[in-house]
């Protein structure tokens, strides 16, 4: 007596992206927290010190948020105009910000009023940053200049006038106190050395540069501008290494994460893309509601902070391991104990083992199929569909019934509600090419069985009309596809054929001219 073989649920290949380690990693974030700021968020900077607060620059304010706060823990509001580029010093004590009114302000993080004001730029200052030893400030402005300032006496040290357009981004070296990079709308990225009075390296990005990022080793520089993200090898004198074009609008933000193994880029096209920094392939993608202006990542990827044009700050926190596991365990624990009861008993040496036949667990529909209750099996399968909207199980049961030759029996004898359910299932799945073949049979059978009752129920009639519309639409669609196919055929036919097959020997003896199999090679899969 062989055991009952359960119905095989066909596994269809999953469409869409494949699940990789990266997708699992980046999916492991909680639902985003959204905070509304007063204007477009132009800059996000994380404090290098724990607890890693971050400064968000939007409109005329710089807000500082705690790692899990929903409200700003601190606000710097003494700006006359729109503030830009709020940046922490490496010790997390000082914060510098530029402003539309060309004044650069330096704040003590615990204070409220600017402790220094650096005046000298003639136009809005979009870039500010501390140099690595922390006593100087680098700024870049729309007056095409970038300057170095001394903090203690708030005096201008140097001014570089090499850019020919707005300077909109920049970064300082963390290893050398004299080096800093600026990117400008004149399409160039320049490396300045404070010890000399001109740039030491110039790289042409080809687009207005929006963002710059230095790798921790400072051997590679990443620049973003236009739709391109470019990586430059600084040790080879600024040679371009890669050019990535994965966004379809201007890239506005760059960020490194996971110890420099992944690179994130944010763009106005509402996406944040994650690149592998070894092969520069996109490994993951985040979607946001509106265009993104700034991007920040907490150390250890604890949270992803994204600022958008509509002033919404979106914060995604990583799920803590206890969080993700704890919830599941709490739910399962009692059930697990019940299941395992007595089963983890290890027999002792003298114990006499009485083997018990393993009971076969069957799905509900299989239990009915085993008893040849075809209608009930179909009912249960349809229930599954209603609950989970997964068509695989009802399709497998329908196929099994069809194989047994009892599909008609199972479909017959339904009342109005059940018939409507069946019809809506057919309508839902009929145009899916995986199911079309079998569902046309089902639809034909349903029509054949219930044709005498047409007109007796408005519900059923409505479903039938929907089915009719669907079929009309589908046939139109197919016709269009055939037309496209015809066009493609013309293209293929006019394409030059592959090289002739040449043979070393004389093959006339076999009495047939050589065939050119090459033209038959492109196989068009029509469906």
């Amino acid at each position: 007596m062989a055991s009952f073989k359960p119905t095989r649920i066909q596994v269809y290949p999953k469409l869409g992206e494949k699940v990789t380690q990266d997708t699992l990693y980046w999916k492991n974030y909680k639902a985003p927290v959204q905070i509304k700021e007063f204007g477009a968020i132009t800059s996000i900077d994380f404090s290098p010190l724990a607890p890693h607060t971050y400064a968000v620059t939007a409109s005329t304010r710089v807000h500082i948020y705690g790692p899990f706060s929903q409200e700003p823990v601190k606000a710097f509001t003494r700006f006359k105009d729109t503030a830009y580029s709020g940046r922490f010093r490496s010790d997390g004590q000082l914060l510098v910000a530029g402003c539309e009114d060309s004044v650069v302000r330096l704040f003590d993080v615990s204070g409220r009023v600017a402790i220094r004001m650096f005046k000298g730029h003639t136009k809005a200052v979009h870039v500010t940053d501390f140099t690595s030893e922390g006593y100087q400030i680098m700024t870049g402005s729309d007056d095409y200049t970038c300057r170095l300032w001394d903090i203690p006496n708030s005096a201008e040290l140097t001014s570089y006038r090499e850019h020919t357009d707005y300077v909109r981004c920049g970064t300082t070296s963390k290893l050398n106190r004299d080096l800093f990079f600026t990117g400008s709308y004149d399409h160039t990225v320049k490396l300045f050395d404070a010890r000399v009075d001109k740039s030491v390296m110039t790289m042409d990005h080809g687009q207005p540069v929006e963002s710059l990022l230095l790798f921790p080793s400072e051997g590679l520089l990443v620049s973003a501008g236009g739709r391109y993200v470019k990586v430059w090898d600084l040790l080879k004198g600024g040679q371009p290494l890669v050019s990535l074009k994965n966004h379809h609008k201007t890239v506005t933000g760059l960020c490194l994460c996971s110890n420099g193994q992944r690179l994130l880029s944010a763009s106005l096209d509402r996406h944040v893309k994650v690149y592998n920094t070894t092969n520069y392939k996109v490994v993951h993608n985040f979607d946001y509601a509106t265009s993104i202006l700034s991007l920040g990542l907490a150390p250890d990827d604890e949270s992803i902070v994204v600022g958008m044009t509509n002033g919404v700050l979106s914060i995604k926190h990583k799920k803590s391991p206890e969080d993700s596991k704890g919830a599941v365990q709490q739910k399962r624990q009692p059930a697990y104990r019940v299941f395992v009861k007595g089963k983890n008993y290890v027999p002792k040496q003298d114990d006499y083992l009485v083997s018990k036949p393993v009971r076969q667990h069957l799905a509900k529909y299989d239990k009915q199929l085993k008893k040849f209750n075809v209608s009930k099996a179909l009912d249960i399968a349809m229930e599954q569909w209603l609950r989970f909207r997964k068509s695989e199980i009802p399709m497998a049961v329908i196929k099994e019934l069809e194989r047994r030759g009892t599909l008609k029996n199972a479909l017959a004898g339904r009342d109005e509600r059940e018939l409507c359910q069946l019809l809506s299932f057919v309508i839902w799945n009929l145009v899916d090419p995986r199911f079309t073949a079998i569902l046309t049979t089902v639809a034909e059978m349903l029509l054949e069985i219930y044709q005498s009752t047409v007109g007796m129920s408005s519900l059923v009639d409505r479903q039938l009309l929907r089915l009719h519309e669907l079929l009309d639409k589908e046939s139109e669609c197919q016709q269009e596809l055939m037309e496209v196919l015809g066009m493609l055929d013309v293209l293929f036919a006019s394409a030059p054929p592959r090289k002739e097959v040449t043979l070393p020997g004389d093959s006339r003896a076999n009495g047939l001219a050589l065939g050119d199999a090459g033209t038959h090679r492109p196989q068009l899969q029509t469906s």
Binding site: M1, N510, G515
Partner: protein, 830 residues
């Protein structure tokens, strides 16, 4: 035509074991069933074949236990003899020559001196009569028994249509719509009960089978429409009654009462064993999913075992009415073998279609099914006119690591799955790796693995394409198993391909597209060349092997066998032959061509490079042969005769139209087989006593010693402490040791120098005689000195019945073979 006396076509195994109802012995330990021309005794617990009773020269058609001696069994055969066997020792006791074909045999406990046979009656076609045969009391081996007295004329040939009442009062027989009851007492009167014909839904209510209740006067009959009727009061013609029960949806094939009469077992197409409670038929138990339709049911005399024969050549033993305890499975004869015959390189088993949706692995050496591989993995619903999934093609790669199968069903449009199975070392079976739904739009006509190292599969389909599938290694980042995917799709001028073939090293692939053979390079999938010999589409393709690997053979529809030279791309030779199958021997250059001529098949075995065939046999078997396989031998034969040399390394098996598995047997092989079978029977008949073990080991030891001596003469024998026999002696408890007189001589003998053997070799005949005596009585053996020429005859007479000449010869041969150990003892005796 050359007659090759040294090779013979024989049927190799695979005979039906479900042809007739098996017999369970009194102690329920053995199951006896008819299997082709022989009778097999199986153990009901271990499923092993214990004894094979050979002697009939035609199909065995019936078996019954001797009612007066439950260790003996009667068998009848189409060769017109009834034979009485002792099935425990495998001895033929008596042969009764009846003279006419016998179709079944019945016995009754009341009439011990009689057997009842069904024989053709009045020389009419399809007319059979039940006759009783008085077995003449005789001591002879061969008995002429021709006194037949007819009981009932016009009976069915099926044994299940006749049932004897246990009390011996009446015989029930059914045919078509009639039930006959024959009473022994009432002046041999036959009552006839007719059932009105009624065809309901295509099923007629004709009688299928009959069974008699062991104690009550009740006859149960099974009908074609699934009903079972219980007949009572049938000893009065007018007042008979019957009641009807109905569960089976199609015909009842088998009925059997349990010995106590409490239950009735029935079975049919549904492959469900139904147990009806007698007299309360509403209650019934089921044993479902027995695998395939039930054809016969037997119950052991104590009622603890049920035995069901199934249509797929299987016997199931059911214990206590609810537990399947053993399955004896022969070669499954399906509806027709759709897959090609293959030999599994690992298990050396023949792989072919088995049960519906399964592949069977059948061991050729042991005539036993090793296992079934479930390909379709769906519940099989036994119902006629249902379109089931069938395994349409299968292929094994050269190492046996991958198996590819195609299953398909075509209700309206073709449903097809290509499955690839990987061999799992741990479970020692194939595990599903990849399923490809709808690999082609049309059915697959041929499928081959590349013989080279890389795993490549080519499928050729009627949709005009051939596809190449390759094992793709998984992404190293993900821990998935490797899976198969399509690598290349090939086509040629939108012609329909028929067959494909890889060259032996896998460097070329030939695909035939109607009249054209295309040759492709598997490295780049470029078309290298085309070969053609119109008219007629190419049917078979086959590359030469080894030294003939430059040749490509093909056969066309227009009865042409062509051989192309691949170096010159031209036709080397062609000949007019209607080839149904071309097959290359994997281990030699030989190619076998099965040709169809005048309704029979001829076989030619040739080398592509030589004009003359090595071997040819006309009229091999009727009908076309389309399935054959070369099975490599475990050890190659060293036959030097030219006509059988081609069988040295491989054995050729082929399937006939009636799915009989035939093979060629060479003379040397046949002799070896006979010798081994004799050896086997003698070995079995000697009980495994400690004495036997002791002496058997001693003999081996002696032989080894002798071998050493013969190579290095004059060397001393081994010291006594090295002798296994002595060790055995010292460690065996005294009460199980043989007589001290014998042991003493052995002991002394082992101490002595070995004398030269030239003396013994000169008089082997004497020792044989002595050894014969010794087996009976070892004490006597010590005195037995001089040869006794008449002792052989005396022994035979003492054995019982006079043996035939052939048997005497056999016995003598056996003696020569087996009792040489005595020689050793004699030699070392002082």
């Amino acid at each position: 035509m050359v007659v090759h006396a040294d090779t013979r076509v024989v049927q190799r195994g695979g005979s039906k074991i479900n042809f007739r109802r098996p017999v369970i012995t009194q102690d329920s330990r053995f199951l006896i069933c008819a299997s082709g021309e022989s009778i097999k005794v199986f153990s009901t617990s271990t499923e092993e074949c214990i004894q094979q009773l050979q002697g009939h020269t035609d199909l065995v058609t019936g078996l019954e236990l001797n009612p007066s001696n439950h260790l003996q069994v009667y068998s009848c055969s189409e060769d017109g003899t009834v034979r009485l066997w002792d099935f425990t020792d495998g001895i033929l006791i008596r042969t009764y020559n009846v003279g006419s074909r016998i179709l079944s045999i019945h016995v009754s406990a009341k009439y011990t001196g009689e057997v009842f046979l069904v024989v053709p009656w009045k020389d009419e076609q399809g007319e059979f009569g039940l006759v009783s045969l008085n077995l003449p009391p005789s001591v002879g081996q061969l008995v002429e028994a021709k006194e037949l007295s007819c009981l009932i004329t016009d009976v069915s040939a099926e044994p299940k249509c006749i049932a004897f009442s246990p009390s011996g009062e009446y015989i029930a027989s059914v045919k078509d719509n009639l039930l006959f009851v024959y009473f022994f007492r009432k002046k041999k009167k036959v009552y006839r009960f007719a059932l009105g014909t009624a065809d309901k839904k295509g099923a007629s209510n004709a009688f299928n089978c009959v069974a008699c209740h062991p104690t009550d006067d009740c006859i149960a009959t099974g009908h074609g429409d699934g009903k079972i009727r219980f007949w009572r009061n049938f000893n009065r013609k007018k007042e008979y009654t019957y009641s009807t029960v109905h569960w089976h949806h199609s015909g009842v094939n088998a009925l059997c009462f349990t010995p106590g009469g409490t239950n009735l077992l029935s079975g049919g197409l549904e492959s469900v064993l139904v147990q009806w409670r007698y007299a309360q038929e509403g209650e019934k138990d089921f044993l479902p999913r027995l695998g395939s339709p039930i054809t016969e049911i037997t119950v052991s005399p104590d009622g603890s075992l049920f035995c069901t024969s199934h249509a797929d050549n299987k016997i199931t033993v059911v214990q206590n009415g609810n537990k399947m305890s053993a399955v004896i499975q022969g070669l499954v004869h399906g509806e027709g073998v759709k897959t090609e015959l293959m030999v599994d390189p690992r298990s050396k088993a023949l792989v072919l279609n088995g049960k519906p949706g399964h592949l069977q692995f059948y061991c050729l050496q042991r005539d036993k099914q090793l296992y079934n591989l479930d390909i379709v993995q769906q519940e099989f619903i036994e119902q006629s006119n249902l379109d089931q999934f069938e395994v349409a093609a299968a292929a094994l790669d050269s190492r046996g690591a991958w198996l590819a199968t195609v299953e398909q069903r075509s209700p309206k449009e073709l449903e097809m799955n290509l499955k690839l199975w990987a061999f799992d070392e741990q479970t020692q079976s194939f595990v599903l790796n990849t399923t490809i739904a709808a690999p082609h739009d049309g059915s697959i006509s041929e499928m081959r693995f590349s013989p080279s190292g890389q795993t490549t599969l080519v499928t050729v389909s009627r949709d005009g394409h051939f596809k190449v599938w390759q094992l793709t290694p998984p992404d190293p980042a993900e821990d998935e198993e490797p899976s198969w995917s399509c690598d290349f799709v090939g086509a040629y001028h939108s012609l329909v391909p028929k067959c494909c073939c890889f060259s032996a090293d896998g460097s070329l692939l030939a695909v035939s597209f109607q009249e054209v053979v295309t040759v492709w390079s598997p490295a780049s999938w470029d078309l290298l060349t085309t070969l053609s010999q119109p008219p007629g589409a190419v049917q078979n393709l086959c590359f030469g092997r080894l030294s003939c690997s430059k040749f490509l053979l093909g056969s066309t529809e227009q009865n042409l066998l062509c051989c192309w030279n691949l170096l010159t791309c031209s036709l080397e030779w062609s000949t007019s032959l209607d080839v149904s199958l071309l097959l290359a021997d994997p281990l030699s250059e030989n190619v076998a061509a099965f040709c169809c001529a005048a309704q029979t098949t001829d076989l030619f075995v040739f080398r592509p490079s030589e004009p003359r065939p090595n071997f040819s046999q006309r009229a091999l078997c009727p009908g076309r042969v389309t399935r054959a396989v070369f099975a490599p031998r475990a050890a190659s034969l060293d036959s030097c005769e030219e006509s059988s040399q081609w069988l040295n390394r491989c054995q050729l098996y082929f399937l006939t139209r009636n799915t009989d598995l035939l093979t060629f047997l060479t003379k040397t092989e046949e002799e070896r087989l006979m010798a081994s079978s004799r050896q086997l029977t003698i070995d079995d008949s000697v009980a495994m006593t400690p004495f036997y073990l002791l002496l058997g080991k001693h003999r081996k030891q002696q032989q080894e010693e002798r071998d050493i001596l013969s190579s290095q003469s004059g060397e001393r024998t081994l010291l006594p402490q090295g002798s296994v026999a002595i060790k055995e002696l010292l460690h065996t408890p005294a009460h199980v040791l043989p007589a001290a007189t014998l042991l003493c001589s052995m002991f002394v003998g082992s101490l002595l120098l070995n004398v030269s053997h030239s003396r013994e070799e000169s008089r082997p005949a004497e020792e044989e005689v002595e050894s014969e005596k010794e087996e009976e009585d070892s004490e006597e053996e010590m005195e037995a000195g001089p040869p006794r020429p008449e002792s052989e005859e005396a022994d035979l007479r003492a054995d019982g019945p006079v043996l035939t000449k052939a048997q005497q010869r056999e016995l003598r041969g056996a003696k020569r073979l087996d009792y040489s150990w005595i020689k050793g003892i004699m030699a070392t005796k002082p």
